[in-house]
């Protein structure tokens, strides 16, 4: 059985269930208590779990991250909320030089079971410092895992896996998806990390999309179907470790691929996906060069029309797919 709920509600339910099931799970973040989080995700959790486990922090992103690390290596399973992904730029030393490396540097004698939740993406008029899509940075770092759900069910299911995982997991939410609704299983249903999901099967072209680009790609696939183009839409869901085999297998089948992501095109996750395909045997099955559709090479502008032009939209996906089909 499933219920229809929003992406934000699904994440909240995941947090609540894990906190009920495991005393070691604590929440840290700015305004996650009485305010309920900048996007309302943690609304009500302070009331249920109290301020011993739901901690409103000062504006000190580096310390908050380190606080989660210290808790994690000594018996807690902290879940941190960084209010906007942009602010993770203040956590890089603790995340990358400490959380990601501690276990390895210590010869496997410590574990860092923590989750860092943060909303990324543009489209809300928040401009250049509140619209970043930085997931590729973390996918470049051994020791970290990176998750980016596109549906309510994936959001909850991947969050359960992330909290139960014994490694630091960067859990990337999308501002534009918080209010989108979808079916979520009644029973706690973990979605395994590292497994891509074929959101729509198809035969002519593979469309790999992440985050908010998944619904856009699915909408485009619907229209393409009417034109007689059968697009297979795949969401990697986990960006590190990347389930390249599922993507490569699809390209082997279709011979055409369009990779859609919101982050800046250069060195965004699409670069790695393209490279994995190019170094695989699938490269010889390509009937057209690989196409990447990424964000423009600029900061996110404030103006609504410019902001829209800065990242791939449904029509851009349609154009790109039609182009590879024509090639």
């Amino acid at each position: 059985m499933t219920r229809l709920m929003s992406y934000a509600e699904a994440i909240r339910e995941g947090l609540r269930e894990e906190m009920r099931a495991d005393e070691r799970v604590v929440l840290l973040g700015e305004d996650i208590g009485v305010y309920g989080g900048a996007f309302g995700v943690t609304d009500g959790l302070l009331d249920e779990f109290g301020d011993r486990r739901v901690r409103d922090t000062p504006i000190s992103e580096a310390a908050i991250t380190g606080c989660a690390i210290g808790g994690a290596i000594t018996g807690l399973r902290p879940v941190v909320e960084i209010q906007f992904m942009d602010f993770i730029t203040l956590c890089m030393e603790q995340l990358v030089l400490q959380a990601a490396k501690i276990r390895y540097m210590f010869g496997g004698t410590a574990a860092v079971p923590m989750v860092l939740r943060t909303p990324g993406g543009s489209g809300t008029g928040a401009a250049a410092q509140h619209s970043e899509s930085l997931e590729a940075w973390f996918a470049h770092v051994p020791g970290l895992k990176v998750v980016a759900p596109s549906t309510p069910a994936d959001a909850k299911g991947l969050l359960l896996s992330a909290i139960r995982d014994d490694n630091p997991v960067i859990f990337i939410e999308h501002k534009l998806l918080y209010r989108t609704k979808g079916p979520v299983p009644d029973a706690p249903t973990a979605v395994p990390l590292g497994v891509a999901d074929v959101k729509r099967e198809g035969a002519d072209v593979t469309v790999v999309a992440t985050g908010v680009m998944v619904p856009r790609a699915l909408a485009a696939a619907g229209m393409l179907a009417e034109e007689g183009i059968s697009a297979e839409v795949i969401d990697p869901r986990t960006l590190r470790p990347l389930d390249a085999e599922t993507l490569v297998a699809s390209v082997r089948k279709t011979g055409r691929v369009v990779i859609v992501y919101e982050a800046v095109k250069t060195l965004g996750i699409g670069a790695e996906i393209a490279a994995r395909i190019a170094e695989s045997d699938a490269v010889s099955h390509l009937t057209a060069p690989i196409v990447r559709l990424g964000g423009a090479e600029c900061p996110i502008p404030y103006n609504r029309a410019l902001e829209r032009a800065a990242v791939p939209q449904e029509e851009d996906i349609l154009t790109a797919v039609r182009r590879v089909m024509a090639a």
Partner: protein, 322 residues
């Protein structure tokens, strides 16, 4: 804190400026309610005396670094209201060609090096402006505005320390409006006054009533004089209050109506107005006229902004690189 009472005309222009800032933000609030603002915004209604008193103590060639709650700073530093409203609405004629919006309005030629979307993000930059002034020996001063919440960021610590050891001409102005979003100051730090933190850097610290524009002006004047004379930075805390929510998504569960009302009774504009009337400087009618003038200046600015073109999407990549 008061030294000599500032000249009457200066006081009047401070009243004019506070009225202009308030009119701007009330209009901004109205436009938002009408759904005509893309994104969010942060209003400083109630904090007008801080921006006004501080900037009145600066010269046109001095610099400021502003915050996400920066409309007041920008106007007080002398920005053109029309270009500012245009930026607020994302128009091509705005200060940032519509690329910045409310959170990034900058008037570089006017000495406002920008609002900042990052809490405490302007503080490290302020040290560099101070260094530049010191190296080029221009005698300017740089004011870095920041909030009470920003005082808990590492950037605050590193920046004030750096400015102190090099005796940079920077004045750190903390606008303590009692909350960082939903976090009350008393829960985010264990000191009574944020200015107590000056002791960690061996620099002067002062706390003034941020609803009293004259007190803010006098304190800033002293700090600026010290900075210009090579005496280094000062940590100036101005205690004030924001009347509105933190941003547009704020249900304000963290404070009481009574608290808001109590602060509204100390309104900086009403205070100064009463003072000037009591002092016989103006009569009610004059004050009303100034208020009306501020309103019509904003209406004109809005007309300018509305008649201004939107940026051309083809210009998306303009200005990424010099």
């Amino acid at each position: 804190m008061k030294t000599v009472p500032p000249a009457v005309d200066r006081t009047l222009s401070m009243l004019r400026m506070m009225l202009l800032i308030r009119a701007f933000e009330e209009k901004a609030d109205e436009l938002f309610a009408l759904g005509r603002v893309h994104g969010t915004m942060h209003l400083g209604l109630g904090q007008e005396a801080v921006a006004t008193g501080v900037c009145a103590a600066l010269k046109p060639e001095d610099y400021i670094l502003s915050t996400h709650r920066g409309h007041g700073h920008c106007l007080a530093k002398g920005a053109d209201v029309g270009r500012m409203m245009a930026e607020f609405l994302g128009k091509e004629t705005g200060y940032c060609r519509g690329r910045g919006g409310s959170m990034h309005i900058a008037d570089v030629s006017g000495g406002n090096l920008g609002a900042n979307g990052i809490v405490a993000g302007g503080l490290p930059i302020a040290t560099g402006v101070g260094l530049s002034i010191q190296v080029r020996q221009t005698g300017q001063v740089c004011v870095a505005f920041f909030g009470d919440g920003a005082a808990n960021e590492g950037a605050f610590h590193e920046s004030v320390n750096l400015a102190s050891i090099w005796a940079l001409p920077v004045v750190f102005v903390c606008e303590n409006n009692q909350y960082a979003m939903s976090m009350p100051v008393r829960k985010s730090m264990r000191v009574a006054r944020i200015s107590d933190r000056a002791a960690a850097y061996g620099i002067p610290g002062m706390t003034v009533d941020g609803t009293d524009v004259l007190a803010v002006y006098d304190a800033t004047e002293a700090a600026v004089a010290l900075a210009r004379s090579g005496g280094g930075p000062t940590l100036l805390e101005c205690a004030a209050y924001r009347y509105k929510g933190h941003s547009k998504s704020d249900r304000q569960r963290y404070r009481t109506r009574d608290e808001v009302e109590a602060w509204r009774r100390r309104d900086p504009i009403a205070q100064l107005r009463a003072r000037l009337i009591a002092g016989g400087v103006v009569i009610d009618a004059d004050a009303d006229a100034l208020e009306a003038a501020a309103r019509s200046a904003i209406d004109a600015a809005l007309r300018f902004a509305e008649e201004s073109p939107e940026p051309d999407p083809a210009s998306l990549l303009d200005g990424v690189y010099a």
